[in-house]
């Protein structure tokens, strides 16, 4: 994705991660990294997803993304249990660059404390942190 983009319907963590709450199920969310994160990393070459069933904690690193030039921790925006991982990224990790908010999603999580959302930023507030 060549141009910066920060969809309005997402919530953002200052460490460059997003959360999309499932509209039909307020206890589930999808996580990924923002345009800024994939741009800073450069071409993603490897993503080894965490195990389904493992726990994630808000503000803590839950996995890594590897590009040609760097390895970066991925910070969890919210806490919960991983219920699904994006296995398609094993064959095409570059999807994270091309479509960070769509096909480049990383994990789906059952939230343990939906109230944590209060601490996240909306698109405008997150973008403001980038300048």
């Amino acid at each position: 994705m060549p141009d910066p983009s920060y969809p309005e319907d997402l919530l953002y963590h200052p460490e460059h991660d997003w959360a999309r709450l499932d509209p039909g199920n307020s206890e589930e969310a999808t996580f990924g990294i923002t345009w800024f994160a994939q741009d800073s990393l450069g071409e993603v070459v490897f993503f080894d997803p965490p195990k389904v069933g493992s726990t994630v904690t808000k503000d803590a690193a839950y996995t890594e993304i590897e590009s040609v030039k760097a390895v970066s921790d991925v910070i969890s925006p919210l806490s919960g249990e991983i219920v699904a991982v994006n296995d398609a990224l094993a064959d095409s990790p570059e999807t994270i660059n091309e479509d960070p908010y769509g096909e480049g999603w990383l994990v789906k999580v059952r939230l343990s404390d939906p109230g944590e959302q209060e601490a996240l930023l909306d698109a405008a507030a997150y973008e403001a942190t980038l300048s």
């Binding site: 070459v45 490897f46 080894d48 890594e64 590897e66 590009s67 040609v68 030039k69 760097a70 390895v71």
Partner: protein, 444 residues
């Protein structure tokens, strides 16, 4: 130049250094000398060393007196291989990178494992590096290391493992080969050597199987030439195969530089330390090679790196792949079979001498151990007087083999040489025994 910089003297360029830290006078070193004088000094120092040209050498124990073919010197002395840096700009380093790729392929063939790096420093530190990889891979806290692993490797592993909080436990030798204790699920890796330090061929499949039964990795430190005959470590289930590469086209150089090789299973590819050359294409679709998986390495991953290795042993690994190409697919087998037959002959001849016994009767390839009924140091001295270095005294590293001797055979040691060794050793042991008996008699 000073004018362009805008200073009056070179002195001013060092203004940042506090004056009291500046050296008041010259370093306490001799004045510099001409090339001729330096050459003479280095030659004089060389003359005070007894090299393998000066005596008949049966020393092994990790490094071996092989014939290094002339084409290796002529190729690796080329400026284009000798003087460049690590290939960070791959477009102007295709020579070095392709050579690394060819080397990696050869190591994969010998070890039977799908992934090899472009070299590490040498054998013993490669064993330590393999331990680190195992620890990172499964997070467990114990290594089981065979007493048959080279003493230097065991020591290097212990030195590093101390910092990781990993406990190192030794598996003893029984009849010359490894006897594993019962393994628990706290074992991170089982580490063995093939052939082991006493020259014996180990049953790698059984050892790897025992490791896997408790979910541990199996690391094998291997002598590369015997791998042309022995069942490949990968085929035996070994997860990481490392080893000392000196024997492949590199000089003895009093212990270095040489290179270490490091090969592993596909599952461990992202944990393998050191440089790895990978195949790719350029803008115009041409095949080319680059350093790849660089995020494993220190210069990108930094504290998450799988090792800290930066400079490795590229030139020595190049010598290694040239040597393997020179030996060739069939030549390496012929060379190893030659050593195998001569080693069998040597062991037979020595074990037949009075006062000399084979330490074990396991299959051996190019090295074997004997026990002497006489103080080994004295025997070695007597042999030295006859211009022969009969082998490595085992006592310091293996007190249980107080008068043990490790004897190495290479293609340079002919039957006539072995006969000379047998005669000299036989005489030395006999003379030493009678001298000791005489003294005992005299005292009694």
């Amino acid at each position: 130049m000073l004018r362009t910089i805008g200073v009056a003297s070179i002195e001013e360029l060092f203004a940042d250094i506090p004056s009291h830290l500046r050296l008041g006078g010259p370093l306490a070193l001799d004045a510099g000398r001409s090339e001729l004088e330096v050459y003479e000094e280095l030659r004089a120092l060389a003359r005070r060393n007894t090299s393998t040209e000066d005596e008949l050498c049966f020393l092994g124990a990790g490094m071996y007196d092989h014939y290094v073919p002339a084409l290796i010197d002529s190729i690796i002395s080329r400026s284009e291989f000798l003087t460049p840096y690590t290939p960070y700009q791959p477009e102007v380093s295709q020579g070095g990178l392709q050579a690394m790729f060819e080397y990696q392929t050869a190591i994969c063939e010998l070890t039977g494992l799908p992934v090899s790096n472009a070299s590490v420093y040498e054998g013993p530190s490669a064993v330590a590096a393999a331990g680190y990889v195992a620890k990172l891979a499964n997070g467990r806290g114990r290594f089981v290391v065979s007493r048959g692993v080279h003493p230097h490797s065991r020591e290097a592993l212990a030195t590093l493992a101390h910092g990781w909080g990993v406990e190192v436990v030794e598996a003893p030798l029984q009849d010359g080969v490894t006897e594993l204790p019962e393994l628990g699920e706290d074992v991170s890796a089982v580490i063995v050597q093939q052939p082991n330090f006493l020259g014996a061929v180990e049953d790698l499949e059984a050892l790897a199987g025992a490791a896997h039964d408790v979910g541990a990795l199996c690391v094998a430190a291997c002598d590369p030439l015997p791998l042309s005959l022995l069942r490949a470590p990968g085929a035996c289930g070994v997860d990481v195969a490392v080893g000392e590469g000196q024997t492949l086209g590199n000089r003895l150089d009093f212990g270095g530089p040489s290179f270490g090789f490091f090969a592993a299973t596909e599952a461990l590819i992202r944990r393998v330390p050191g440089r790895i050359a990978g195949e790719t294409v350029d803008l115009e679709g041409r095949r080319g090679f680059v350093l790849t998986l660089q995020t494993r390495e220190q210069h990108i991953r930094r504290e998450k790196a799988t090792s800290n290795i930066c400079t490795a042993q590229a030139l020595n690994a190049l010598a290694g792949v040239i040597y393997l190409s020179w030996l060739g697919r069939h030549g390496i087998v012929e060379l190893t079979e030659l050593m195998l037959q001569r080693t069998a002959y040597a062991r037979e001849r020595l074990a037949a001498l009075p006062g000399v016994h084979a330490l074990h009767d396991q299959p051996v390839v190019r090295e074997f151990a004997v026990a002497l009924d006489a103080p080994v140091a004295d025997v070695i001295e007597r042999c030295a007087a006859a211009g022969i270095n009969p082998g490595y005294a085992l006592g310091r590293d293996y007190p249980e083999y107080e008068n043990g001797l490790l004897v190495a055979i290479t293609e340079k040691r002919t039957r006539a040489d072995i006969d000379r060794l047998a005669d000299a050793l036989g005489e030395a042991v006999t003379a030493q025994r009678s001298r000791d008996a005489h003294h005992v008699g005299a005292a009694g």
